[in-house]
Symmetry: C2
Subunit: 882 residues, 2 copies
């Protein structure tokens, strides 16, 4: 293990894995000569050592902390626990990847009965000192020793305010705060059985341990799971000299972004409060002032701050989200980090920073999160409808987008109804980490308190859901479950409302939605993406309309056309059923002859819509035949009922018989895919005939078609060999009949583990491999997706048994390993083999990056996900150059 405790001046920005993001940035800023209060960082490794040892502090750690703290004392001229010039510190978490609001912080540490008096002597401000002390006791009790903050601490503040007859915390007297000290010390002892420690080193150790433990509190675990952050990273702990924004009116504290994180506009954006501590801004207890006002209030400090901000933005080559404190006229930078932003803002910032010469195109592409880029494509409100809509209230435009849904006040209820697909809007006074699961499945979030950097705003932006925050002109009657507008109109639970998160407006009813607006920045950005990416991005499409839609999103071909969807058409289903019920090959052929012209029409239309030189990859019939017949359960019930009543017909019983004979214990692993085609070759023959008749006819019209025939569910080379032999013959026959040649390929889905393992055999007969990652994930895990997701998969992810749902993002260690092996083996016998993903993972950015890394040639996804797949593909090129 490396050095465990680092002074800020010893680290740098590249050390985020060890020092955490916050620690690395504090180190970097310190070395840049910025006014950062001195401090030290305990590494992320120590956190995991602590947790893995069953929450036990590593031997000797506190000695190292003390040694480093002595250096901080030297720098500041203050001394920890000193009764003359005491050093106070903050203790904060800081993981590799920012997890805002997820873990614990303790401020003002070092205060005790003695040092508080020393502070009073130094500051001549007893009110501030007692306030700080009672805040520290609150945080210590609730964070380090797990006491209920509201019950044991905040409730006492209410009593004091009542006693003093004041409404705001800022109005409480010095004596008021002082009187809380013995009360808090008593309740700590009463609840925990332990004395509040006067020794600052004991305070410090307890606080450090609390931060370590907070790595595994439920909301932090949930956040990591949602954001696919490794649970073994651990958090660093930053111990930093306290500076105070609440020592008087020449003090302030604030947070700001170097550019607007909602729109991307190149304009300073943020909020501050005078005479306040940082938590006051974030918690939304007082409504803060916009940062632009600081220019008037403290022009010199504002200019100094802007200079630093620009320097940091250029240094980090990204928008910075900074925290600052002004203590008695001196500016301190407490933190800087790359700022979270909406997708639209990210694109605008990326494009503009490139044009300003701050970053390269490659860097610009890295600045947009492919997981959020879809948001830009989200519908917004129709502008006419918007003009006519009745506005209920205005609030802060906290997270852009348009949301329509029913009012729900209870997080639990929103979580349950939202999960079932119901459109709800969560309405809360303010939100806290416990609300995250309810927010995640709501259409939008409306809060009554807090600004653009409040919890609700930050979280909603991260999730890409619209949010209107700090909407103070409405009220909630929690008991009656109603929302009351300023004009007195009452909106009960379940009333439909609309939110415009980009404008901060709440409206009555369901306002009509319009298509997303794609602006010039978006177009420029995605032109860069197309320049840089090397993988082909194709779309999954089953109809002409799908193809047209895919082309709008710049699909470079169709990677998956599922022919069974065509069979489900109500006009065709009777013929499909006749084909299935057919007892003889002849009867089956007769039904197939009826289906041939219909399939021909499908493919004709798709080839024509797709145009020149783009592959149309058509998967031959895949699902088990019983999917085209009535449900067995329904038939059993019908026949039993009719029998009991003496009404059963021969027809009923015959259909039941057919359905029962096709019924399988595990249909996913039964007679489907190529197994079906090898059992009834005439089905695939009909399909291939339709494909090539259509391809030839469209080619005759001057379009250079590229039919790719894909045989599904291959597990053994002989399946492919046998099926291909039959079908290539049909293709050749048709081309001869039509008197024209088309360029075509035959390939296979790789979706059975055995196919991946024996790809060196299979690739001898395949021109392309299309990884059906949904089925491959099912078979590799032994999960039936329908069963697993309902029955245990969600719990597995919650309990950290699985790091994430492998149907959302590829399981790299297992399924990914198989895909890698398959391509390696395949290319060993067929160097020209084309490889791609056509499962849903083809649109998942992390999975796309994996696909690039292992040398796949293309991914195919739903049209709507093409931009995010393309962006991920471009980022993959850049990331792998490094």
């Amino acid at each position: 293990m490396q050095k465990r405790v680092w002074l800020f001046r010893e680290g740098n920005a590249d050390m985020r894995n060890l020092l955490g993001g916050k620690g690395a940035n504090l180190a970097e800023m310190t070395n840049l000569g910025l006014p950062v209060p001195p401090g030290l960082t305990i590494t992320t490794e120590v956190c995991m050592e602590y947790i893995n040892a069953g929450n036990k502090m590593p031997d000797g750690l506190m000695d190292e902390v003390k040694k480093a703290l002595a250096d901080v004392e030297n720098q500041t001229g203050k001394k920890f626990g000193s009764s003359e010039n005491p050093l106070l510190v903050s203790v904060r978490s800081g993981a590799r990847v920012s997890m805002p609001g997820m873990m614990e912080t303790i401020l003002n540490l070092g205060l005790n009965d003695e040092t508080v008096e020393a502070m009073i002597k130094l500051t001549n401000n007893p009110r501030f000192c007692y306030d700080s002390y009672r805040r520290f006791l609150t945080m210590f009790g609730s964070v380090a020793w797990d006491m209920d903050r509201q019950k044991y601490f905040e409730s006492e503040v209410e009593k004091i305010k009542e006693k003093e007859g004041v409404k705001e915390d800022t109005q409480v007297s010095a004596q008021g705060w002082k009187s809380l000290i013995p009360i808090y010390k008593n309740v700590i002892k009463e609840v925990t059985g332990k004395e509040f420690p006067q020794d600052p080193f004991i305070q410090l150790q307890e606080a450090i341990e609390a931060v370590f433990r907070s790595w595994n509190i439920p909301r932090a675990v949930a956040y990591r799971t949602m954001n696919k952050i490794d649970h073994n990273f651990g958090t660093a702990v930053n111990v930093q000299t306290m500076v105070f924004g609440n020592m008087g009116d020449d003090c302030a504290t604030g947070v700001s972004f170097t550019r607007n994180p909602a729109t991307g506009e190149n304009k300073f954006y943020g909020e501050y409060l005078t005479n306040a501590q940082g938590e006051d801004v974030v918690a939304g207890i007082r409504t803060p002032k916009p940062i632009s006002e600081l220019e008037h209030e403290m022009p010199d400090l504002y200019r100094q701050y802007v200079d630093i901000a620009k320097k940091l933005e250029q240094g980090y080559k990204d928008v910075q989200d900074m925290e600052f404190t002004i203590e008695k006229g001196k500016l301190y930078i407490l933190q800087t980090r790359n700022g979270k932003r909406t997708a639209a803002a990210a694109v605008r910032i990326a494009v503009e920073m490139e044009k300003e010469g701050i970053i390269t195109k490659e860097r610009a592409i890295q600045l947009v999160d492919p997981y959020t880029v879809n948001q830009i494509l989200l519908p917004c409100f129709d502008s006419t409808a918007l003009q006519l809509a009745k506005v209920i209230a205005h609030g802060v435009n906290a997270s852009p987008g348009a949301a329509v849904g029913k009012i729900v006040f209870d997080t639990e209820e929103a979580a349950q109804r939202g999960e079932k697909g119901e459109k709800v809007i969560l309405v809360r006074v303010e939100t806290c980490p416990d609300d995250i699961h309810g927010m995640a499945v709501s259409q939008g979030v409306l809060t009554l308190r807090g600004g653009a950097t409040s919890h609700a705003a930050v979280v909603a932006k991260g999730m890409g859901i619209p949010c209107v925050a700090g909407c103070e002109d409405v009220k909630i009657d929690a008991e009656k479950e109603v929302l009351i507008a300023s004009d007195g109109t009452v909106y009960p639970k379940d009333t439909v409302i609309s939110l415009d998160g980009g404008k901060g407006v709440v409206m009555e009813g369901a306002v009509k939605l319009a298509d997303a607006q794609i602006d010039d920045n978006f177009i420029t950005f995605f032109n860069w993406v197309d320049e840089i990416k090397t993988m082909t991005i194709e779309a999954n499409a089953d109809t002409v309309k799908d193809v047209e839609n895919a082309l709008k999103f710049k699909a470079q071909g169709i990677g998956l056309c599922r022919t069974e969807h065509m069979f489900m058409d109500p006009e065709r289903l009777p013929w499909v059923q006749k084909m299935i019920i057919a007892g003889t090959k002849e009867a089956r052929k007769e039904a197939l002859d009826k289906l041939l012209p219909m399939q021909y029409q499908d493919f004709y239309g798709m080839f024509k819509a797709l145009g020149n030189e783009k592959p149309l990859t058509i998967r031959l019939l895949d699902p088990p035949l019983h999917e085209f017949l009535p449900s067995k359960e329904d038939l059993i019930a019908t026949v039993a009922r009719k029998k009991a009543l003496g009404e059963v017909s021969l027809e009923d019983e015959k259909m039941l018989h057919v359905v029962e004979s096709l019924s399988e214990a595990n249909p996913m692993m039964g007679l489907r895919g190529c197994r079906l085609g090898l059992t009834y070759p005439e089905i695939n023959e009909m399909q291939v005939r339709a494909i090539f008749e259509a391809a030839c006819d469209v080619k005759k019209e001057g379009i250079n078609v590229m039919p790719y025939v894909m045989i599904p569910l291959i597990g053994h080379v002989n399946e492919l060999k046998t099926a291909k032999e039959i079908l290539v013959k049909v293709a050749k026959d048709v081309m001869q009949e039509k008197g024209i040649e088309v360029e075509y390929k035959f390939g296979t889905m790789i979706e059975i583990p055995r196919a991946a393992i024996t790809s060196d055999e299979i690739a001898q007969y395949a021109e392309f491999f299309s990884f059906g990652t949904n089925d491959l994930t099912q078979m590799t895990f032994g999960y039936s997706r329908d069963d697993a997701e309902g029955k245990f998969l969600k719990r597995y992810v919650e309990q950290k048994i699985l790091p994430y749902n492998p149907f959302d993002t590829l399981d790299f260690n297992g399924v990914g390993e198989l895909i890698k092996m398959s391509m390696e083996k395949g290319k060993s016998v067929n160097p020209h083999l084309i490889g791609g993903i056509c499962g849903e993972h083809g649109g998942d950015p992390d999975s796309v990056k994996f696909a690039y890394k292992i040398g796949l040639d293309y991914v195919s996804c739903s049209p709507f996900r093409i931009p995010q797949a393309a962006l991920a593909a471009a980022q993959a090129v850049i990331e792998n150059k490094k």
Copy 2:
């Protein structure tokens, strides 16, 4: 490609891959100076070249054949097609692995209208010459040109016999045979449109091609599939100078074994006919004489023959199955090969040859086929019952064993009924290759004609099914479908009879069966096996009785105890159902508390029965819970019916609701195995408690128990880690309560592909891997065994899409590769990892050998299959030493 045509003197016994078994042996014997008629061999490679080119003769091949034939002419002083001293040849197939009776042979080739007259001048025996010519025409027409032998050729023989008023072929006159020549030539032209070729070289080319083509005739393909012979081996073609056993009474032809292939007795065994050709012996048309009579008829030749036989047995270190012909007082050896034998004979021969100093123990072990050794353990008839049984008839003891079943005369019917599990005995006048599929699923075979080397006898022996052959004292009335005994008793179809294949006796009714007799040879042999094998052979056992049975077969432990079988007990099922229906953890615990003492009793009994120092590997509950509840389909029908009649109860509907909520689309891939245990940890906790309470109590009685706890269906390391943590705690708690420590291990089934792929993660938490090869095969292939075997797997094997059923023998390329990878990855992090197979493949000899090769430590199988698994394990050691 190597040299394509080899003279016998150019080859040797080690060249069987290239020259085929027969060709290599003819070469070896030629070089040993034995009296082998000279000839040449065309390699197996040429056969595959011919087939792969679409049945086209390779360029220049016939020139090479002619050149070699010139050498044969020099050796014999005869000339192909000569009108003075013509050379006649046989053309026979000969693959790497013997496939008796599967492919084609043509004898007497070289005869034409001219050479037949030359032969008459030379032999002064027109009858013999015309007989030979008409035989050649018959074989040429039927084999080379695919004509129906019975319809176009044999029927004419019947007419001649009728005309001449004789019954036997031997009685037909020279003129009679001569008159067939123009008739045959005409019918050949009529049916094929081609003239019978007078040019012997054209005859030869046609015959060679026919043999090549016969590699792929259906019965040969079926035989290879059944015996897992590679379809790409091809057959060699042997062209050999004809010698004639049918030139008079100083001629003979016969086949014999150096030891008795039914009992293993060290005594010459075989049959011959004077004045006959080889096909007469094999076809069973004339009943041949035992070889012992030759000693009296031709004592010098007999002695010469015995000398050669002993020499060959010592040279090949195995029992030889030889063909000989005596032509005018001169002995020729036409073929030698290792003799097929019954399992009991194989064991006796192996043990005795070792004692005679001919072979080593290792060689002895190699001489017994593990796939047949089970036959020895087959039941025989109870000796008292046998004495009392009414004998219907006596025949030849063609293949040992006891069979009881219903008489069926039609092969197709026997095949169909036998496949369904019905016990039938196939009764035929004689059998031919087309009867194989009916024989395979019959309990036994009874034929009316043919001896111990007839088709029925050879095939039945190979399959390990009892056969009584040449039972001439009964008759079949095919039309009435009855068997008529010599005393006139009529046994209609479906009458139950019993066959004693070892004694050659047919009996009325179902004679009582007794346990198999294990003799000293068997015991000696398996002691050697135990000395040599290094893998541990364990048994699958779910009850005390199973354990006792396993120990009888020398099981070294229990590799798989399935606890769900215990749950199915009718006494327990109600509690199991209560546990499942339980809505709360408490209700579930209550039901589990009832089950605990019952599970305790199970394990207590098994530990005690198993005794000291043997692992008892217990798999925790595995199947989906709905398997313990009534069928959903039945419930739906019941509820629908009762509803229609207004009789439905709340109880009915409630049960249906529970069953529906547990119902899964693909239960094999749903909530089962460890997923169940992680969902309801209390179930596994109860099981582990029962295991350890029992283990502790039995250990207190002085037995050193070894509980191995096996967690099923692991796919991700965290599943194992989480489950193990909980269960190890239970184990430790119980041992503390009981105040005694037992040696135990925790391990996992590897049956999910992902577990195999990520074994380097999983092995960190497992002390053993038990490969559940049935499920692993299902998941790796994406086959639901129940669905696949009924719906397409059989057809896949028949159509050669799969080389064999991967549920019988491990799929080495796919599933095997995964197992290999898993062990390699597992051992890379845990060098002490124990690996074994507990699926059904654990008893399959080829799979056992594979297990050895990749370094597994044990296999576990059903008790009855332990000897064959042990033998395979010993052979694996020997084979891998080479």
